[in-house]
Structure formats: structure tokens, C-alpha cells
Amino acid sequence: MPEPPPPGLPSPFFRVDARLVHSAVTNAWIPHLQAKRLVVASERFMHNPLRRALAAHSIPEDVKLFFVREDDATSLGTLLASGEATLVLFETLAAVSRAVEAGVDIGALNLGHVPAGPHRTPICPAVHLAPSDFVLIDRLKARGVSIDVRTLPDDGTLDLWPLAPSSSAESSEEGAAAIESGGFLPPPADVPVSSGSARVGEPEMPRRVESSVTVVNERGLHLRVAHMLAQLVSRFRSSVLLGRDGRFVNAKSLLGLTTLGAARGVKLSVIAEGVDASKAVAEIERFFSSDFEVSA
């Protein structure tokens, strides 16, 4: 009788890890997930007897190890139907895509280890995404896969897409859908529109506030600053869009912000919508005019 996965822990847990079976998996993820099965979904690994032997020797004794081709949906399906807590490892996002194309049902995907390389944007020390990865992520998201960027279990999730309906009750479904499908401005919402900064004593009711800011930093809206901005905006309940030349991105998304390519002198439009829209816009204006200083 297989042991069911402990309540509250996701199973199967799907992870992208370029290193596949290594210390962080055997000593951190398997204990965290209380996994009883480790499935390595990699054709390359399958055909490497040495790596297979090393992996078999390095995992905890009570964990069963399986190898399967990433696009072998039948075998994967059988393995995942066991009912035991299972960790599934893929080498790359491309491998995950092949699995999904082949019919493997993946609801949530952990991005744990994607190495650095030319044209790759560092998201955290162990995750670096190429433009092609962003495309794959968009496709996976379109199929309903949620993405969790996290190298180790205790790391905070780097939520790159906080506008998704599940994580922001305040954002409009319409807005989220528009951003999902290509990052363009959602149709005007049915709320009062005002422009400029917050006024003292403003009542807390849903509103739409528009403004514009200019990048004065000589390095532009670079990654570290984009991260700070995304964090700053995430403190507000309103949905916030930042746009350039008519193309808008979710300002709570580090990934979105980095795609704006906002160099020094670029003027960006800001649209916030929600109960604290004015405050959010005021904070963003202050952040840009102070040359990216975060207030305490």
C-alpha cells in the first residue's frame, strides 16, 4: 500500500533543474517534500549509466528512483498515478514543454536551476532566463501552468506574475487576461479616472489613476532597480501597469519590467487601478524622481 503524500505538500512536484540529481535535491527538496519517489524525466540522463548509478547511490534509502524520457507521457502518467509523494525533475524548460505537448498534466512548475549564459537574464543566483525561456513560460502559462521561481525550499517564491487572478484579488480579470495574452493595455475600466499624484484625505475606493514618469538613472531601469520597483509596487493592492509606446506590462512583475528596455530618458506611462491606486502612483513617481531610492 503506497504511502499517500503528506497533506499540504504538493505532489507530484515538478521542478526544472539543469543539474538534475544533486545535493540541493537530495538534501533539501526530497526531505522538504517528504518525497518517496524521484522521477528523472530526461532522455539524456536515462542513457548515462554513470550518472544513474551516482544518483541511485546518493538519494535517501527509502526513496525510489525512476528514469523516463521527458516526452513519454504514458510512463510518466503511470509513475505519477502511484499516489506516493513524488518529485519530478526536468533538465530544461524545453523538456517541460515537450512533456506538456506529449500530454503530461502539470499544474505548477518550480524553476530551480537554470544556468547563466549569453542573453540570459538573472532572476536569482541560480535561475537565468533566455528570451526563448520567456516564450516557453508564456506558453506554459497559457496552458494553465503556474510558475514558482525558487532554488531551495526555504527561499521565497519569486513571483514574477502577481497579476494572475489567483494571487491578486484586486486585479480585474479583464486586465489580467489582457496582460497574459500579450501585454497590451486593457480596455478602459468602469471606474473614475484621475491623473497625477495622490491628494491628502483621498477616500479608499476603487479608482483608476494615470501618470507618467521618466527614467533619469544613467543605467536605465536595470535589473536590480526593476526588482526594487516590482517589490515596491507589490505592496499595493491595486493592479499597476507600466507602459512604453502603447505596450504595457505588469509593474509587479520583474520579468515584465525588464522587457520594457527602459534606458535613461525614456518616458513611461503608469496606470494603476484599485483602492490604493493613487498611493501606488505617488510612490512610483517618487521612486523615479528620486533616481530609484527606496523609502524606509
Partner: protein
């Protein structure tokens, strides 16, 4: 003579070599080098770094790679070299192992003998002190 490459997550290997050098004296960099594996590196990059280090200390008697953790990326990748080079890998590298290394290199020029000697020494030096005080032969 046997060449030595210490591979580790981060700077651990380099620090272990430096610390051992303070205690038992340094090994020349023509004999022993370290390779640091960064979290951002690809498997291919790490493999290249390790192969380069092996080439730098390559000796007729072979090269012994001391990797920090069995099952770790550094050890996994280093192990692949065993297949087609005169290379062996010992994992679980610790300070006692590196303290023993200097004299062991003088005593033997056989790769397998050195590898097993370092493994035994390193394991023997992991103890629970109170077990020794109690004379608990089973655990000590």
C-alpha cells in the same frame, strides 16, 4: 607524482587547501589546484573548468579529484572523467583528508592506493568525541 584537484561548491575547496597549507605546508600549484562551482554555472561550464584544472596538474601517475560532497554537482561531473582519463575521484573531502594529503603524496605514486588511503583517513577522523571518552569501540 599524482596531481590533485579539489572541486567544491563555492570557495570551500580553495579555503580547505589554504587552511591545510597553514598547518602542514603548501603544495605547489603545479600539483594541487581548486575549482569553485558557482550556482549560476551550467553543467558544461563546470565540466570545462574541471577538465582544465585536471590538465593543469596532469602527472604521469594520474590526477586525483577531491570533491566536497558525494551526489553534489561537482562530484557528479568530476566522476565522468574517471571513464576516459587516468583520474579517480574521492568525495566527502574534509580538512583531515587534506592534512594527510601532503605526506601521502610522498608515500605513494599509485592513484588507487592514494584514493583509498585518503578516504580511510578522512572517515577515521569523523568521530563523536564522547564515544572515544567512553571507550565505545563500536561507535568510536
Amino acid at each position: 607524482m599524482i596531481g590533485i584537484v579539489v572541486v567544491s561548491h563555492g570557495r570551500l575547496g580553495q579555503v580547505l587547501l589554504e587552511t591545510a597549507a597553514e598547518i602542514v605546508g603548501p603544495l605547489p600549484t603545479s600539483v594541487a589546484v581548486s575549482v569553485a562551482v558557482a550556482r549560476s554555472q551550467s553543467v558544461e561550464d563546470i565540466g570545462q573548468d574541471i577538465r582544465r584544472a585536471v590538465a593543469a596538474v596532469d602527472q604521469p601517475d594520474g590526477v586525483l579529484i577531491l570533491a566536497d560532497a558525494f551526489g553534489g554537482t561537482a562530484a557528479n561531473i568530476a566522476s565522468e572523467l574517471v571513464l576516459n582519463q587516468k583520474v579517480d575521484v574521492v568525495t566527502g573531502c574534509n580538512l583531515p583528508m587534506l592534512l594527510k594529503l601532503k605526506s601521502a603524496l610522498v608515500e605513494t605514486s599509485d592513484l588507487t592506493t592514494l584514493a583509498r588511503c585518503l578516504k580511510d583517513y578522512a572517515q577515521r577522523n569523523v568521530v563523536v568525541a564522547s564515544d572515544i571518552l567512553r571507550g565505545d569501540a563500536k561507535h568510536a
